[in-house]
């Protein structure tokens, strides 16, 4: 099996990393090749890999591309590649039947799989094509107001991002029995190449909805010019939709995700939601509540987790309950330092002082949950968060924002508030802090709900069945040995490989 990850396992902690770890360890009879799409080539492994991981491959997406070939002025692209690129760009712009995004992607892959196309994206010819496509962008009959024309700078910016996002097309596709993409987008793109090249079945799991998170990331408030923003989002829409087309099965982690996938064109017959699960025995409930009224928040410091609303809400709580304490557990991923700094500025501005503490990454989630009276989750986008399940299992009352699959997890065993609404969040916290009986009731309901519905064994069983079905159904099973998958990089793309021996050294021999 090839488990393809992006910006997570085994290099970063978080919900998806927990899920990957569960899958790899829990389905141990299977051997795994982990293909990690990372920012750079030198990231450090943070999660120990088990023995059934035979290989770790990296695809550094944001590494410097060593363009070996001169992009001479006036030099024109290979005609086939030019056609494919033009079709892809026009498909993004117009979404009409004449231009098939998926077919053009495959043509790019087959025409220039050695990575040449990455060089071609730096030519003036490619900029010209992109600019033409951006000018041709249609709005599906929507009333068109005053929209600025795209400029060369817009085309250059978009093409610069494509050069990174399309890099998986330039690396050797995994040659395994099954590709399991842990998210849509770039991870799924690599799995798509494996299907084109070897007919490898593709299983797609989405935790957060990739497209939705891009919409939030590139909102108009991101201050990106409209032309490049809408074209880039058009690309994300096409590529996520193409992945749904290519996938043999889609296993969203919540019914909420299922709705988004369907809205983006996924075939309902392919969608088989599998809720995340945990081992509730890992989360004890014996610890007494702390003395000071304490709120606990667990997650990575990330705009999607909306730490700012948490701080604002806590400021309101503190105004009502002066002795209240907020403990924020979670590390800051590389690239989010600025967001952390903004949060710290807000913390200072609100005068929270020692009452709201950034505790950093914690190794014991259980202790973290038990260090408060209430666990709070403030995300503006979620799939089916582990933090919610774990908090419920630990025997603490939960208040969470009503996003993604959170309501599926909590139902009536916790309190849901609208996202980005610090007033509503604060009110819920104050009410619950002042009502121990209600806290106990919710905690009991939450623990029972996890034990009855969200056990990890159930989740693994579903995946195991799905694996078997997909592998059996594959017309031409892969020929590579299952003991150790060492891929021969037939393409000269930016990929680095770590073998089992290296892994043992890097991770202390696995567990």
């Amino acid at each position: 099996m090839s488990l393809i990850t992006e910006g997570t396992f085994p290099f970063h902690h978080g919900g998806v990393a927990v899920w990957c770890d569960q899958i790899v360890r829990g389905l141990a009879p299977h051997r795994y090749q982990i293909v990690a799409v990372t920012a750079g080539p030198d990231e450090e492994v943070q999660l120990a890999l088990p023995d059934n991981v035979s290989e770790l491959r990296l695809i550094p997406l944001w590494d410097i591309n060593h363009r070996g070939r001169s992009t001479r002025v006036g030099r024109r692209m290979d005609p086939n590649l030019r056609d494919a690129l033009r079709t892809m760009l026009m498909a993004i712009a117009t979404n009409d039947a004449e231009h098939s995004f998926l077919a053009s992607l495959e043509q790019i892959y087959r025409t220039a799989a050695d990575g040449r196309f990455l060089d071609w994206l730096h030519t003036n010819d490619a900029v010209r094509l992109t600019l033409e496509a951006m000018c041709a962008t249609t709005t599906d009959g929507r009333i068109r107001g005053d929209v600025p024309n795209p400029t060369i700078a817009d085309a250059v910016a978009v093409l610069g991002l494509f050069e990174h996002l399309l890099r998986p097309l330039a690396v050797a596709p995994p040659n395994v029995d099954l590709c399991h993409a842990s998210s849509n987008g770039v991870s799924a793109l690599l799995a798509m190449t494996a299907k084109w090249e070897h007919g490898t079945p593709l299983l797609l799991t989405e935790h957060g909805i990739y497209l939705r998170e891009r919409y939030i990331e590139y909102s108009p408030h991101s201050m990106m010019p409209h032309a490049r923003r809408s074209f880039l989002l058009g690309f994300y829409k096409r590529i996520t939709s193409a992945a749904y087309d290519m996938a043999d099965a889609i296993a969203p982690c919540s019914d909420y995700n299922r709705r988004w996938e369907q809205a983006n064109g996924a075939d309902l017959d392919k969608i088989k939601p599998i809720h995340n699960g945990i081992d509730p025995d890992e989360f004890g409930d014996t610890a007494a509540e702390p003395e000071a009224p304490t709120l606990v928040w667990v997650g990575r410091i990330d705009p999607l987790k909306d730490v700012k609303t948490l701080l604002r809400a806590f400021a309101r709580v503190k105004a009502e309950i002066p002795g209240a304490v907020l403990r924020i557990y979670g590390g800051t991923p590389v690239g989010n330092e600025r967001y952390l700094s903004e949060c710290l500025d807000l913390h200072e501005l609100l005068g929270l002082g020692d009452s709201a503490v950034f505790e950093g990454h914690t190794k014991s989630m259980n202790k973290a949950y038990l260090s408060g009276h209430i666990v709070v989750a403030t995300s503006i986008s979620e799939g089916f968060p582990y933090a919610v399940l774990e908090a419920m299992a630990s025997g603490r009352a939960m208040i969470a924002t009503d996003v993604g699959g959170v309501w599926e997890a909590i139902d009536s065993a916790g309190i849901l508030v609208p996202p980005q609404d610090d007033e509503a969040l604060a009110k819920a916290c104050i009410d619950l802090l002042r009502n121990p009986a209600r806290r106990t009731q919710l905690a009991t309901m939450g623990r029972d709900r996890v034990r009855s519905r969200f056990m990890v064994d159930l989740c693994l069983e579903r995946y195991s069945e799905l694996y078997d079905d997909l592998v059996d159904a594959a017309a031409t099973p892969a020929t590579a040995g299952s003991d150790k998958v060492i891929l021969d990089p037939v393409h000269g793309g930016p990929t680095t490989t770590t073998t089992a021996g290296d892994l043992a050294m890097a991770t202390g021999g696995g567990e």
């Binding site: 060593h66 002025v73 700078a153 709705r259």
Partner: protein, 486 residues
């Protein structure tokens, strides 16, 4: 305006003038008092797809349940589709701040900062009344340039990843490494070619100053370099102008060393010095750093081969004429900076204003030519002045010495343009090509024609320099005219 009936919001009809008010109508409910309707309106009017509006609605609190229960829709997507159909696409204009500011007089001042060590070394030599070993300046210029480039790249690389801790550690290691490595190289040079402790100290101080300056430059603190080095520069000028012995030697040494140490100490505020444990740079970063080191070494070598060697070509020249020889190159470093920034700003401006690619390559190349021409005019003018001043003093500086310096100046400007446009590979190839041609020329002259080594070395330097200039100029046109590089 639309009306709210039985908890449902009617869609606006053709007469609805203000669609934004309609959104506010939708979001105005007891459950959603906190919703920022204007924020939602901005997203709706800029959305490129109904799903984008759906995401914005959800973030604003309109979940699936709300869309069905409150607004009577099948789901949030249906509500988003309605908004998509009704709200004209009208994005809020975004004014993009220009990344590249045009060059200005500060660049000219920065150029003066770069050349400051030159008069200081001369003054030190004059003040102490001693010649430094022949290897001192070539070693310092070459090694210092290479390490400075490497330090700057590694620092910027870490900064681009927002990894300030590692940036401080990497630059700290390079700073310490530059001191130790220069000491070792100087000792080896002294053992082989001869030289005293003063020469070793001078070489080490100069390299350390160059690396420390690059750290301050990385932190946009060139003004500190200028301020701290000013006492040394002022005293150096006095020493060079006043009769010999006016300023006591120890005082000269104290001021100049003090200036260098001050810059070094200032730079240590931005570095984290600790005992090294493991590699801070990844393999790939390290490899690119080595590329920048090589680039700096080759640039330094070119200066040694053409400018410093040129000074010694005509032993008949008096002190003034020898001092004048490197002036064209040194005095126009500021112009180089100014034109580099101006070109980048203008080329970037073209990409932000042009809406077709039809004339971009020629217009970008025209901007590039303009900057090259301005620089050429500046260095030619200074060269002519140098020649005239020397001639007025009865000295005749060989014209080839000055002409090749102009060629080198143009090469450096092309080099800077290409490197800042992220094509170090092309620059390295050009310099290596020049080096190869120079070495081949040297071999042919010495072994083929029996030319004296000194003469052959000068000819080889000229041939290599011209070759580099042609190669870099050729690359500059391609690189400057490629839109993706801006």
């Amino acid at each position: 305006m639309s009306a709210r009936m039985n908890g449902l919001v009617e869609e606006p009809n053709e007469h609805d003038a203000d669609i934004h008010q309609w959104i506010e109508g939708i979001t105005e409910g007891t459950d959603f008092e906190g919703i920022d309707a204007s924020r939602l309106a901005i997203i709706c009017s800029a959305a490129g797809d109904p799903l984008e509006i759906a995401a914005a609605l959800e973030v604003a609190g309109v979940s699936h349940t709300v869309a069905t229960d409150r607004y009577g829709r099948a789901d949030v997507f249906s509500l988003a589709q309605t908004l998509w159909n009704r709200i004209p696409i009208q994005p809020t204009p975004v004014v993009e701040a220009s990344v590249h500011q045009p060059g200005n007089w500060l660049d000219l001042l920065r150029g003066l900062l770069y050349i400051a060590p030159a008069p200081m070394l001369l003054a030190l030599s004059r003040g102490l009344d001693r010649e430094f070993a022949g290897w001192t300046l070539p070693l310092a210029v070459t090694w210092g340039w290479g390490l400075g480039q490497m330090t700057a790249f590694a620092g910027y690389r870490m900064r681009s990843r927002a990894d300030t801790r590692r940036e401080a550690e990497v630059t700290g290691r390079f700073l310490i490494g530059s001191i130790i490595s220069t000491l070792v190289l100087s000792l080896v040079a002294a053992m082989i070619f001869g030289g005293d402790l003063v020469s070793i100290s001078v070489a080490t101080a100069l390299v350390t100053f160059m690396v420390a300056s690059s750290i301050l430059l990385l932190h946009q603190q060139q003004q500190w370099s200028a301020l701290l080095i000013a006492p040394g520069v002022v005293l150096s000028c006095i020493v060079l102008i006043a009769p010999l012995g006016t300023v006591p030697g120890p005082m000269v040494a104290l001021f100049i060393a003090g200036s260098f140490i001050a810059v070094l100490l200032r730079s240590t505020r931005h570095v984290h010095l600790r005992w090294p444990s493991g590699m801070l740079l990844g393999h790939r970063d390290f490899r690119i750093s080595l590329g920048h080191l090589l680039h700096g070494l080759l640039c330094g070598l070119a200066v040694v081969a053409i400018v410093i060697q040129g000074e010694h070509l005509a032993p008949a020249l008096d002190d003034l004429a020898r001092v004048l020889v490197p002036v064209p190159m040194l005095a126009t470093l500021g112009v180089m900076e100014w034109q580099l920034r101006t070109f980048r700003s203008r080329a970037s401006g073209l990409t932000q204003t042009m809406e077709t690619m039809d004339r971009f390559p020629e217009r970008a190349w025209a901007q590039c030519r303009r900057s090259l021409l301005i620089y050429l005019t500046a260095i030619s003018t200074v060269t002519a002045l140098v020649w005239i001043i020397a001639a007025a003093n009865g000295q005749r500086i060989p014209s080839s010495v000055l002409a090749v310096q102009i060629v080198l100046g143009i090469s450096f400007l092309c080099d800077l343009m290409i490197v800042t446009l992220d094509r170090l590979d092309l620059v390295l190839k050009s310099w290596l090509l020049g080096l190869t041609v120079g070495l081949a020329w040297l071999a042919v002259e010495i072994w083929g024609f029996g030319t004296a080594v000194e003469t052959a070395l000068w000819h080889a330097s000229c041939a290599g320099g011209i070759c580099v200039c042609v190669a870099l100029a050729g690359c500059t046109r391609n690189v400057a005219s490629t839109a993706m590089n801006h």
